[in-house]
């Protein structure tokens, strides 16, 4: 089952879990499974039109899904999906 890594700013919406195992054959299916299990995550990942937000990057293992087949990217057993939102802190 693919594992989705949740970054700390979003863990308050995933029941404090750092990673969630979700079934799915594609990245899109796995992310849909994630937000159905943790509905509070939805508005942080998706815009109102149902598209993933532009400042939320999704990686399959170490590759940006924008350079794979985006949400149609097929998943293998043991793949890791990482959600990497932009952070700006520095002071």
């Amino acid at each position: 089952m693919p594992q989705i890594q949740i970054p700390s700013p979003l863990r308050q919406y995933s029941g404090k879990q750092a990673s969630v195992d979700v079934p799915g054959n594609t990245v899109g299916e796995a992310l849909a499974g994630l937000v159905s299990r943790h509905p509070d995550l939805k508005r942080h990942l998706y815009a109102d039109d149902g598209k993933l937000r532009a400042f939320v990057n999704v990686y399959v293992n170490d590759e940006d899904m924008r350079y794979l087949q985006k949400e149609a990217t097929e998943l293998k057993d043991g793949d890791t999906i990482s959600i990497v939102p932009s952070i700006a802190g520095g002071r």
């Binding site: 509070d40 990497v84 939102p85 002071r91």
Partner: protein, 390 residues
């Protein structure tokens, strides 16, 4: 980075005192006399003398970087000291530039330190960057992140990037000749308010140390022309799990600033780009504000007013206004605990989260709901000065 590594002006000759000082570098083949001279000839601009800027400036200075520029307009305060290790308790109230200058020149009197007591803006960034070889980004907000990136791309200077939040950090090197830039990674900033700042969300004190030292390392590698730089890779640091991971970064051919069909060829208005107008004002709930003075008056008059505290329980432990605690994230499922017929004033630490709570409650049909401007910090500043401020 060939152009940078080839630079070896004749004036970068080391004195005997410097040779002794840099002895541990000079006996390493990767640095040696040639590398140390490159360090001395190098000019690095550090944006910010705060959390990331502290370790960056301290290590670059100790390592023998010849010219260090620092841009900062801030003053040291007590909340800085938990992580901004270049400043001490005695420096509270001083300009960060003055405080940093004392420490840096004490560490290395050979340093040519250039301080810029100004906010980095679209009007001054290009001129400033042109005088340096490398820019190290230690800023704390999205508009300045995009400004630093674009100015680096436009002037052809590598951008040594680091950013932090709570227990997590990111580091990379952007805007090298062949590599991706920050906009290739994040084409758009998040809308204001969605991603909390360190002031709202907190940051572990050692985290800027970890990430700032990674930035210093990358800066020195670029100067020496040694090793594999983080260009094309994003390093993710999770201090809680103590895990370091890396992701591939690609140059986006459609990037508006460094791609093949560039639409951004000059600096823009970055506050507008990031959706920020005015300083830190909440974008919603604008008309339903209550000042701490108004709240005090109402409480003194024993008016019927319900104080809703939308902070986290661990913040309530620091200080509170005897409010009813429902953390912002729990509000949707606990809304039934609130009485919409009563006058409600919502507050958090500074007013950001409570603005969201007010907007949410208004959408849910509440009409008599107000946001306490400036949050409990404003109360501590102006009403109860004995209250701890955090």
């Amino acid at each position: 980075m060939a152009t940078l590594s080839d630079v070896k002006p004749p004036e970068a000759v080391l004195s005997n005192d410097e040779i002794l000082r840099y002895s541990r570098h000079l006996i390493m083949p990767e640095v040696g006399m040639e590398g140390q001279q490159k360090l001395k000839a190098a000019k690095v601009l550090c944006i910010g003398a705060g959390g990331l800027g502290s370790p960056l400036a301290l290590y670059l200075t100790a390592a023998g970087v010849g010219t260090l520029g620092i841009v900062d307009f801030d003053v040291v305060d007590y909340t800085n000291l938990q992580r901004q290790i270049i400043h001490t308790t005695a420096d509270v109230g001083r300009k960060k530039l003055d405080s940093a200058a004392d420490k840096l020149t004490a560490i290395n009197p050979f340093l040519n330190l250039r301080t810029f007591d100004t906010k980095l803006t679209s009007a001054n960034a290009l001129e400033l960057f042109r005088e340096f070889d490398i820019v190290a980004d230690g800023t704390d907000n999205f508009p300045t992140r995009y400004l630093v990136n674009d100015a680096c791309v436009l002037t052809g200077k590598p951008n040594v990037y680091g950013s932090i939040f709570r227990f997590e950090g990111q580091a990379s090197v952007f805007a090298t000749e062949e590599g991706p830039c920050y906009r290739c990674l994040y084409p758009e900033p998040p809308p204001p308010g969605l991603v909390p700042s360190c002031a709202e969300g907190g940051v572990l004190g050692i985290l800027p140390g970890l990430i700032g030292v990674i930035q210093a390392t990358e800066t020195i590698k670029l100067i020496l022309g040694q090793g594999d730089s983080l260009a094309g890779r994003l390093l993710l640091v999770d201090a809680l799990g103590m895990k370091f991971r890396e992701l591939k970064l690609r140059k986006n051919p459609d990037c508006p600033v460094c791609g093949t069909h560039r639409t951004i060829t000059a600096l823009i208005d970055y506050d507008q780009f990031c959706g920020i107008r005015g300083q830190e004002e909440p974008v919603f709930g604008g008309l339903s504000l209550m000042s701490v003075e108004e709240l005090k008056k109402k409480l003194d008059a024993k008016a019927d007013i319900f104080i809703l505290d939308v902070r986290e329980p661990h913040e309530y432990q620091i200080c509170h206004l005897n409010g009813y605690l429902i953390p912002l994230g729990d509000l949707p499922k606990r809304i039934s605990e609130l009485d919409s017929s009563r006058e409600i004033v919502a507050h958090c630490k500074m007013g950001g989260r409570s603005a969201k709570a007010v907007a949410f409650l208004k959408q849910a049909g509440f009409t008599k709901v107000y946001n306490l401007t400036g949050g409990i910090n404003a109360w501590a500043d102006r009403i109860d000065t004995k209250m701890p401020k955090y």
